[in-house]
Symmetry: C2
Subunit: 163 residues, 2 copies
């Protein structure tokens, strides 16, 4: 499999997971979080699938394509630690979905962020909230991935006992 093949497979898996989690939260009220806006492709996909649901995006700095920049009130820039503190005040109600996409070429930094993110995310989530992540996270109950997505390519969890 060439790197082009494997890149396409990774994006298709990502899309399958996003479509799957949108289905999992159908009928549950509450905002969604995009942790790691990046170029904005998955934000744009979630935005299209989530309809009227509030979708908050976090990133260290704005690198998104101009078509994928969230409205100012839904965009939380800066260090995630500061952003999460701000978010708990600004959003004002627990989220039912978090999509975390923050892996980078720097493996040590990615691992450190993943270790921090699991516990830090919990205060922002409703019981039973769905967490989809490109990195393994601690402290959540694993859920099966959608059909066709290989184990370890993406990570899917439910928070707490609700839902």
């Amino acid at each position: 499999m060439s790197r082009l093949d494997s890149f396409i497979r990774r994006l298709e898996a990502q899309r399958a997971c996003l479509d799957h989690v949108v289905g999992l939260i159908a009928g549950r009220d509450g905002p969604a979080l995009e942790i790691g806006l990046g170029n904005g492709r998955t934000y744009d996909h979630l935005r299209a699938r989530l309809g009227d649901r509030a979708l908050y995006a976090f990133d260290r700095e704005l690198k998104a394509h101009p078509d994928c920049v969230p409205p100012a009130e839904f965009l939380i820039l800066g260090d995630f630690r500061d952003g999460f503190r701000l978010a708990s005040v600004r959003i004002g109600r627990p989220a039912v979905l978090a999509h975390c996409d923050f892996g980078s070429g720097d493996r040590a930094a990615t691992a450190a962020l993943a270790a921090w993110l699991g516990p830090a995310l919990k205060p922002l989530l409703a019981p039973g909230a769905i967490v989809l992540s490109d990195q393994a996270l601690d402290g959540f109950r694993p859920l099966p991935l959608p059909a066709g997505v290989a184990e370890g390519r993406y990570f899917l969890y439910r928070h707490g006992d609700g839902g």
Copy 2:
């Protein structure tokens, strides 16, 4: 269609075109050229599909993933103008395939490079060589795209009257 959908569709079209041109040059002897190595994903795909055929890669600077860096004798770095002059000496025989992937966010620079590239490429090509490009190029005879690839998403040509 979200930007994630459209990105996946673009990569699938790119792969379909690459697989198609590999078929078009089957049985013809001569090297292949990758104009714009970039991250090396399409280089890796062509390399896997082309077997023993020599594959030369050009780019302004090396940004490829470590797994996709061509051997030094097949890598021509620097301005394309200098690179093409060097290539005509170093390669020593006409190419039967050129894949050009050089579009960037800078539309003016991309258009200028496309205008220069068509005529500049010809001296490196065998009669009847196949040219696949992410940008429209002048001076070649258009060929139909493979099934499923939308018009204008990629550009496919044959050089001269041979083949």
